[in-house]
Symmetry: C2
Subunit: 253 residues, 2 copies
């Protein structure tokens, strides 16, 4: 993990870094220190968007998290920004667009070819990121996933015991095999669903919520399209993270 730049923005410190060739950003509450380390939120990038394209949105979210005492980290997805595209993904994305335009259901094989190569590459990258970032003295070992490509978050939460909770945004296409992996998620989950999401299949999102193996899970569905998550739903997701990562959570670091 190599530091590229650091700047202070109000109550957040933004550190740009690279992990090998992969660019990423860490946002720390300005108050975080070795004496007062903070929990970490792994904030996934939405599929098809680069770190630069989502910067304003992610910074706003990281600011909210920082004011609640949480650090946020993100990493460029395979195939986004300057990173080489996994083969077949461009073709699959074009097929998804064609199906949505025609008002037809997206084929299971197309969903698999779009999402699974991304999940197969991204999950080990996030795990390497965790190996590296947890050495920082400003961070505790209390970690949660939040947002991004939901299938990546599901596999990460299902397989990496360092992840203690997950906010899942049911806002992208989910392969059938990921629904099966969801049964292995046992940490508390908070699922955000936009009821009229134009990019999404509501029934599949409800199926995903149902499939999650967690004994504690909440679905928070709101009227509106893909990017219309209301402020109160964002605030509730942050309260969920604080409840499970904050200093008062059971089994603290």
């Amino acid at each position: 993990m190599h530091l590229i730049s650091e700047r202070r923005l109000d109550d957040v410190v933004e550190r740009r870094f690279t992990l090998g060739e992969i660019p990423g950003i860490l946002w720390l509450p300005a108050s975080a220190s070795a004496a007062e380390p903070v929990p970490l939120v792994l904030a996934g990038q939405p599929g098809g968007f680069s770190l630069e394209q989502t910067h304003a949105r992610m910074l706003a979210r990281a600011g909210h998290a920082a004011r609640a005492g949480l650090a946020t980290i993100t990493l460029e997805l395979p195939g986004s920004g300057d990173r080489p595209r996994p083969s077949g993904v461009d073709e699959a994305r074009a097929q998804v667009r064609a199906s949505l335009t025609a008002g037809e259901p997206v084929g299971e094989d197309v969903i698999d070819r779009l999402v699974l190569p991304l999940v197969d590459r991204a999950v080990p990258e996030w795990q390497s990121l965790l190996d590296a970032v947890l050495d920082l003295p400003e961070l505790t070992d209390r970690i949660a996933c939040s947002g991004g490509v939901v299938s990546i978050a599901v596999r990460l939460a299902a397989t990496d015991p360092r992840v203690r909770a997950a906010v899942l945004f049911a806002g992208s296409l989910v392969p059938r095999s990921i629904l099966r992996e969801a049964r292995d998620v046992t940490v508390p989950v908070h699922v955000l669903l936009q009821w009229d999401d134009e990019h999404n299949d509501r029934a599949r999102s409800l199926e995903l919520f149902d499939a999650l193996g967690s004994p504690e899970k909440t679905l928070n569905a709101n009227l509106g399209g893909h990017t219309g998550v209301p402020a109160h739903a964002g605030a509730e997701a942050t309260r969920f993270l604080v409840r499970h990562l904050g200093p008062s959570a059971a089994g603290g670091a």
Copy 2:
């Protein structure tokens, strides 16, 4: 509206009253006064339970509401406690039980015979209660529904312009005709759904959420059975009420 008794319990004042022959209870924050009037939450009784049977539960909810600056009022349902049962309701309830025990879907005609007589009687009673209670100097005209038989709350919210917001508990059988009436609900709604509710039809609950005409609506679904609403979901429902009734809400009294 006739006052029967008044007692102070911690930070709540409990007033028992009758409206004609119908018993009810009003819980006021101890701080409420003509100089500092508070908004009012209409807290419906769950179907099949009397005021006395639900007293401990309702008092706990009223206490939470009072600490958030809200008064709570409730009224005995037609057919509950000492009130005469609408004809056909006992029969319909027995048929519902038989269907649930047999693991069969409850017939639409049975749902209609169980729920619609209750709705037809209860809604005018709640409206008379509103006429009477709004004269109290401790209350503003900022009113919301919360809980109880969801079909009663839907019709009340759809037809009475004094209701400004509604917390609906998708926890009882909903007639098809009420799904149509739900389109006329335009105030903000917050729907609580217990994902594994043994008394309920999840698909019908999701259909109800979808049918509500409100431009601002949230579904908050949690794992667990009928009576297992987690504390964080109750707290979020109270925040919803405060957001829409509290002194900082737009268009204040």
